[in-house]
Symmetry: C2
Subunit: 167 residues, 2 copies
């Protein structure tokens, strides 16, 4: 098998990126999660300044140009240590598990973070996700375990209620 090509995403990749976002959501048992259209991804990643996300994509080594993995990320900030990177999604299709592709994608983001003097790469994962061992092997620390750090979210219905009461 010839090598998978991993490269930064371009605007015309958004259809394939959206397909893999759906595949990841289905794997995570939230098949109805994804709501973004290809046009949303084109606008947010390639027509906005600054781009709202960046992406590495992995292209199958054949003429299909089908994608077999991606890593979506964007800058974050720590009030202790300064700029960081968050990996929002990291996904490799099942047939490429065990080929080192996940590590290649992760390492490319880590390289960008390291060379750009970012303080850390952060991401979240579901507790049952079997990738936990893989993340640990790559040197990442589960800070929900070590610091009991919990993730909280306020969705739009929560914002609405809050702003009604705040009036």
């Amino acid at each position: 098998m010839s090598a998978v090509l991993v490269r930064p995403a371009r605007r015309e990749d958004c259809g394939e990126i959206q397909r893999l976002i759906q595949a990841l959501a289905t794997f995570e048992k939230f098949p109805h999660g994804p709501k973004l259209t290809i046009e949303d991804l084109e606008r947010d990643g390639f027509e906005s300044s600054p781009a709202k996300f960046k992406c590495f994509v992995a292209e199958m080594p054949d003429e299909s140009k089908t994608f077999c993995g991606y890593a979506m990320y964007f800058p974050i900030y720590s009030s202790w240590m300064g700029k960081g990177i968050r990996i929002e999604d990291l996904y490799v299709t099942p047939e490429f598990h065990g080929t080192g592709l996940g590590k290649r994608l992760f390492s490319l983001v880590a390289k960008e973070a390291y060379e750009g003097d970012f303080c850390r790469v952060e991401f979240t994962a579901l507790g049952w996700n079997p990738a936990a061992g893989f993340y640990r092997h790559l040197g990442a620390e589960n800070v929900t375990d070590s610091e009991e750090r919990n993730v909280w979210r306020l969705y739009r219905n929560g914002m609405e209620k809050l702003l009604l009461h705040a009036k």
Copy 2:
């Protein structure tokens, strides 16, 4: 007591913001966490384009102009729902607990998120933090509890090791 003034931060606020970042870290039992200088905060928040963070600050209602709270935040992105906001820090000094100041700071960020059509406001908190009840009261959901969503971090020493091995 006259009302506390809550307003967007300006460049000259970075000294007071840094003081409160330290106060929050001390409260969180990580007093040696903060490493950023006032100049770092000035550069990242007020001399970079785009700014790496935004901030609301709460000013004491007296001539001291001392701060009694702040909320630091920045944009994030969801591959399912699009743009969001992360609150990195939300802090109110102990003497202002119970005055509604935390809710005012949180609501201002939620207002910006709601009116800007952001999909969610996300933040992390330590599991033992007594503010959990406050967050829930404001409408936020602990997705570490509900989805078993864990936070992972790769620090610079982890990046170094990974990139050495990836060579």
